[in-house]
Amino acid sequence: MATVIGQRQPTMAEALRAARGSSYEGIWSWLTTVDHKRIGVLYGASAFFFFLLGGIEALLIRVQLIVPNSGIIDADAYNRLFTMHGTTMIFLVVMPMSSAFFNLLIPLQIGARDVAFPRLHAFSYWVFLAGGIFLNISFFTGNIFQGELGAPGAGWFGYQTLASKQFSPDHGVDFWLFGLQILGVASLASGFNFIVTVLNMRAPGMTLFRMPLFAWMTLVTSFLLIFAMPVIAVALFELMFDRLFDANFFNPVAGGNPLLWQHMFWLFGHPEVYILILPAMGIVSEVLPTFARKPLFGYPFVVFSGIAIGFMSWGVWVHHMYTTGLGTVANAAFGISTIMIGVPTGVKIFNWLGTLWGGSISLKTPLLFAVGFVAMFTIGGLSGVTHSMVPSDYQQQDTYYVVAHFHYVLFGGAIFGLFSGIYYWFPKFSDKLLGEGLGQLHFWLMFIGFNLTFFPMHISGLLGMPRRIYTYSGDQGWDLWNLMSSIGAFVIATSILVFIINVIVSLRSARRAGPDPWDGRTLEWAIPSPPPPHNFDEIPHVHARDDFWHQKYTEDEKGQPVPVVAGGAVEEDQHAGDGHGIHMPSPSFFPLIAAIGFPIMATGMIYDYALVPVGVAVLFTGIYGWAFEPATEEAE
């Protein structure tokens, strides 16, 4: 619908309306889409692209550390690479990849035709993409052809006073702070949207305690997002004032306090850890029951432990700051709260094992990744217990032991969980199963590569190797462990190549997956693959948790499940209606326009204030058009 050529010059309003279109083809349809499934695909594809970027940064880091005293990458470039690696993996990979799953699945799982605010949804995606591109453009602000990268180099945590104008004078940190600020807008939009969607859009009978666990974790994560993002927004605004306008929030020479930054950053940062891990926990809680053909063991416990983690995550931030001299009593209090957050986490692990116990476990790729999640996350959780012990943490703080710990949580945990979700739901949205052979190869390469990379970091850390050093001398006993880590990193990279090949091969294959390839339990498997734009021809009436399972199986007198005879409620494609008479929100490109305003404003703040009003004007044009545009164009 890109062409607006008519016999006479169309007015602006007409042109916009024509371009708005309603088709599902062509690039315009993607730029203007408000379909939650397409936005989910966009989120996922973008996050995967950033995953490759962050992965390349990690490989460069590992190349530099492969032997002692290596000079392949200098200290300056190294600092920028690890800063961008951390920032990218957290804000541009795990968060948006989780968001991709929220977008794709939440309406399907709760029996809704759409999210609560479809255009806000599109807006959140475009703002995220704008923020991600903006952040990465910073690489090119240095003299890149002479090997000088321009990216931020003060760490993903941006500690003061290192990230101040005085000690990080180039624009890298400015790109970082405005980039994160933009990404925060996207997260807030998405958080509000999913809270309203989950609370208000559920199908009749879908009570909160009949919701799939993934929907629960989405709800908890969304609440964490809307409370956590403002905290870092305030911190970033203060940093902006310090850097751009010579304010003194964090400047000790003028009475500011560099520790203030750490308090705000970690008050955001610890809930953020759970923002990263809870969606993956939700995914695993869907995959294990399906592949064990057994309901989630202790559903209420898993739900309440997720909620408990959500609350407790606000009371542990000082464990990132044990060594900053806050005093013994404060350290003791936060030490105890940190120890106790291990309890709800442990509950989940035992409940997952209870789900598998007594099941009929199909060892397909999604299950392998889900089990990989449980296995690796357990190690990450346990190493977390060891450094919740405050005095012991003094020895591990800022060493590779901590790097090992959080990679077991965020890679062994979150990334394995997300890949499990990709293998599990890929057929729902593409009607193609990812190849099982390549999938297994992918899993085993990644599993072995992961452990080869990150397990030795426990040891190099306990041998005293600090984080964020671009090189080390050969007499420290760290060489073997670093060599192993570097080899492992390339094994992981190989596994990602296998995954990419698998996706390409599978998409080209002619074999269709059908609506329910895994014998699923939740509503999304009751509708065709890929789902029609309106998801459900008829809004389902939900009678139980795992409603779709109960449509397929009943129980005999001994309590043994037996398939419902012939046909039952399993709908075939031809049975489905054509969706006529269902009005879905029409496409809109105002969310995209509004989103473009943000990077323009940010560029203006960094280089030339004259651009700021331009960005504001673009933003308001988008919001203005959006506000006065009817959500659904009348059918003609």
Binding site: T161, P295, G298, V343, N351, V371, T386, Y394, G464, Y470
Partner: protein
Amino acid sequence: MKITKPTARSAGRIFATLLLLGLIALLFSACGTDTPQNTFATKGDVAHDQRTIFLLAMWPAIGVMIFVEVGIVLILLRFRRRRADEVPKQVHGNTRLEVIWTVIPAIALIILAVPMLSILFDVGRSPKADAFTINVTGLQWQWLFEYPDVKDANGKPITLAGDPGTAPSGHANAPLVHLPAGREIKVVLKAQDVIHSFAIPRIAGTRDAIPGHEEVFWIEIDEPGTLHGQCREFCGFGHAGMTMTVQADNDTDFQAWVREKQQPKGTAGTRSGSPAPSASP
């Protein structure tokens, strides 16, 4: 790897388990070695305490890890789907079991917290009044040491700084820092520009040096010997080179070193806190 047959799959899982166990074995072999910053090869009271509490948490953690990981493998083997139409009994949970596995870890963790707190308060206590005092300042990118109670010929405290002349990538070559062994040392830690972190792992874990803040803590070194440390908090370009070497002396040797520093010829007039220090010992 052969990955198509179920037997090969379980073989792969066993292989992975062996790999993991092998890595754990490597962990223990590494802990015994005498590497310069090994947190297990401790040489001072604070580090002993920190190792004790780490091991106290680590052993149960390894126990739980083996229990869970082996459990996963056994569950996957035992409950593998054997027939495509196999449907197990739909068990929704077991409240008693779940209460048990909530309460037991909670109790275990609270028990673990008791020795943690007692060690925390010991490590965190104020230094004794008769402790030997050293002032340490972190700056981009070296450590400065000042002995407030050891005066040179001009009556000024002895200071040590690195030699920026010969070091690559911004940092200064570390001076050899002499400290007395066998007595309590009071460290007064400051930072001049950005946050640094002071760690000599075989004596004590890290403490942050934060501009605008003065951190005071005690350490103790068991016996004479050479010890290594380096900055732990990322502090910019020269972070990797911000090392230090400590020579712990017995009383006689330490007094001898002090007398040598007090000789007027020793150009001992380095200015404390100078970003461009002029002399090395």
